[in-house]
């Protein structure tokens, strides 16, 4: 190999190194430009009083733009490890988006049914039919008396989340 070729190779490799560093840095920047904005991340704690919720009639609340299902179980409804027990009452707290592809299932008599792809969830938010791969998700919350604050990670939430994993 001649002297010139070695020099040209060196210039080529130098440029490749500069371009690689610049390219990688731009990719990081472009990736972060698509991340949720700080205002979005900071958005939203929702406080809900569970006392007025009627048994067997689930209510829907909003947290971070997502529907939250709160169901006070009737005596006939089976118990589950994800029940939030307050005194004698058992509650199901769940993010109301089908774990298949995110449609909002509707309460039909004794279960949530999703119109999009036919998924069904029982009163304990467990999937019982169709494509959903897992139960309705559990939002993080903390509990004070009968009031829950969505978005905070309290010991009750951690206990239920651990029970769901088991």
């Amino acid at each position: 190999m001649s002297k010139e070729t070695n020099r040209r190779d060196f210039i080529g490799y130098s440029f490749a190194a500069v371009a690689a560093v610049g390219g990688a840095a731009s990719l990081v920047g472009m990736k972060q430009a698509w991340d949720p904005l700080p205002s979005v991340l900071a958005g939203g704690f929702t406080t809900i009083d569970l006392a007025p919720v009627k048994a067997g009639e689930p209510e829907t609340f909003v947290w971070r733009g997502k529907p939250i299902f709160i169901l006070k179980k009737t005596a006939e409804m089976e118990s589950s490890s994800r029940d939030l027990v307050i005194g004698a009452d058992r509650f199901t707290v769940a993010i109301g988006l089908c774990t298949h592809l995110g449609c909002i299932p509707a309460w039909k008599k004794d279960k949530w049914k999703c119109a999009c792809h036919g998924g069904e969830f029982n009163p304990s938010a467990k999937q019982v039919f169709g494509p959903p791969p897992r139960p309705l998700d559990l939002p993080p919350f903390s509990l004070k008396g009968t009031v829950i604050t969505l978005g905070e990670d309290g010991p009750e939430h951690q206990a239920i989340a651990a029970a769901m994993k088991a």
Binding site: K31, W34, D35, P36, L37, V40, T60, V62, R64, G65, K66, P67, T99, H100, L101, G102, C103, I104, A106, C114, A115, C116, H117, G118, G130, P131, P132, P133
Partner: protein, 416 residues
């Protein structure tokens, strides 16, 4: 510096600098097309024209459209539809063209499959064409989001959630694509950018590539006759037009194309003026609401077949989650056409009616796609769910047996 003589006319002046005469020959008057073709070979020009219609109508819509979740719905349904002169017309032109272009894409694709125009040297034509199908699908989806109606919102919800199936990073990927925990303002503005800039410019680039891939293997013909284009071109240029198997793209081939285009445009504008409703879902005239899913959601007709493959698997099989099976089947359905040239093991290019087994395979595929499309729109309950399941399984099996089917044909003919 090259030497330039004094030019005697504007044409000559341009020719000296740009060599337009040669360019015109290479691209138009001496670009050779086989004679033995039918109206199905006009679909390329129809597609290019429809894409042009989409660009022009899109430019007019963009001047009044506002990509903001509080303004988008009214900017479309009040400003454009009621205030802007002919705004309604531009919207209907754009919406109907977006729907009709998929009809022509499918005809174009299945013509290619029927006549075997995807193999033995034509693989790059097929692959660049499938890339166009994918980018057009992305453009159709991102455009559907812009009016910010209920269907826009929930289609965006379902499609972005598909990325949750990606192993390990799925949930984070969904949030990253949306720029929010939900489909929200950040989602709308970035999909607006994709729809009006990045995707159209990518499509234009791939269209250029698609035309270029035709240059060397040349256009196929009705009997898949193999001949030397240079010899045939010489015959034509020598005045032996009757005996030559080729014609120049311009002005001979294009004249027939333009006739077909005329018929197509009459059909297209008939839809625009009298039957635009099929491309304007009534549910999408309700503003987006993140607290209410419409009773029944479905994609536009051209996505129904792959949508039905996705949801056809509604129960767990052998420990695999229904969700994962559906997603894998969906990915399979969208990727399998790309490798079609290698699934076809027949070494000869022939039209389907000269390949007995492949002929049957082709029409079963057509019927299966129609069944998937019809059931993709019906609610996924009871018998419908089972029809969807079997049609989805049939779709996958068809592609798995294609190598065997094509080999049997080749053996019977004695080509293998």
């Amino acid at each position: 510096m090259a030497k330039f003589e004094k030019a005697n006319s504007v044409g000559e002046w341009l020719d000296q600098r740009l060599n337009l005469t040669t360019f015109n020959k290479v691209m138009m008057t001496e670009y050779w097309i086989p004679k033995d073709i039918n109206f199905l070979w006009a679909m390329g020009v129809l597609l290019a024209t429809t894409f042009g219609i989409l660009i022009i109508s899109g430019i007019f819509l963009m001047m009044y459209y506002k990509p903001d979740i509080n303004l988008a719905f009214d900017s479309v349904n009040y400003t454009i539809m009621q205030e802007v002169a002919f705004g309604w017309l531009f919207r209907h032109i754009h919406g109907v063209a977006a729907s009709v272009i998929f009809l022509i894409i499918y005809i174009h694709m299945f013509t290619g499959i029927y006549y075997g125009s995807y193999k033995q040297g034509r693989e790059m034509i097929w692959i660049s064409g499938m890339l166009l199908f994918m980018t057009f699908s992305a453009a159709g989806f991102s455009g559907y989001m812009l009016p910010w109606g209920q269907m826009s919102y929930w289609a965006a919800m379902v499609i972005t959630n598909l990325f949750g199936g990606v192993p390990v990073i799925g949930p984070e990927l969904v949030v990253w694509i949306r720029g929010d925990f939900n489909v929200a303002d950040a989602t709308l503005t970035r999909f607006f950018m994709l729809h009006v800039f990045l995707l159209p410019i990518t499509i234009m680039g791939i269209i250029g590539l698609h035309f270029y891939t035709l240059r060397i293997p040349h256009v196929n013909n009705q009997t898949s006759d193999e001949f030397d284009f240079d010899t045939e071109a010489e015959k034509y240029l020598a005045g032996n037009k009757k005996e030559s198997k080729v014609i120049p793209f311009w002005p001979v081939f294009i004249s027939k194309d333009l006739a077909v285009l005329g018929v197509f445009l009459i059909f297209y504008f008939y839809l625009v003026f009298f039957h635009y409703n099929f491309a304007m879902d009534p549910v999408n005239f309700d503003p987006a609401n993140n607290m209410v899913t419409p009773a029944h959601i479905y994609p536009e007709w051209y996505f129904l077949w792959s949508y039905e493959v996705l949801r056809g698997f509604f129960f767990d099989i052998a420990g695999f989650k229904a969700f994962d099976i559906g997603l894998i089947a969906f990915a399979f359905a969208n990727a399998i056409f790309l490798v079609l040239p290698w699934l076809d093991r027949d070494p000869k290019i022939l039209p389907a009616h000269k390949r007995p087994m492949f002929f049957v395979w082709f029409w079963i595929l057509m019927v299966d796609l129609i069944v998937l499309t019809v059931y993709g729109k019906l609610p996924p309950t009871g018998t419908n769910a089972w029809v969807g399941f079997f049609a989805a399984v049939a779709f996958i099996l068809l592609f798995l047996i294609l190598p065997i089917v094509t080999k049997i044909d080749a053996k019977k003919r004695g080509s293998l």
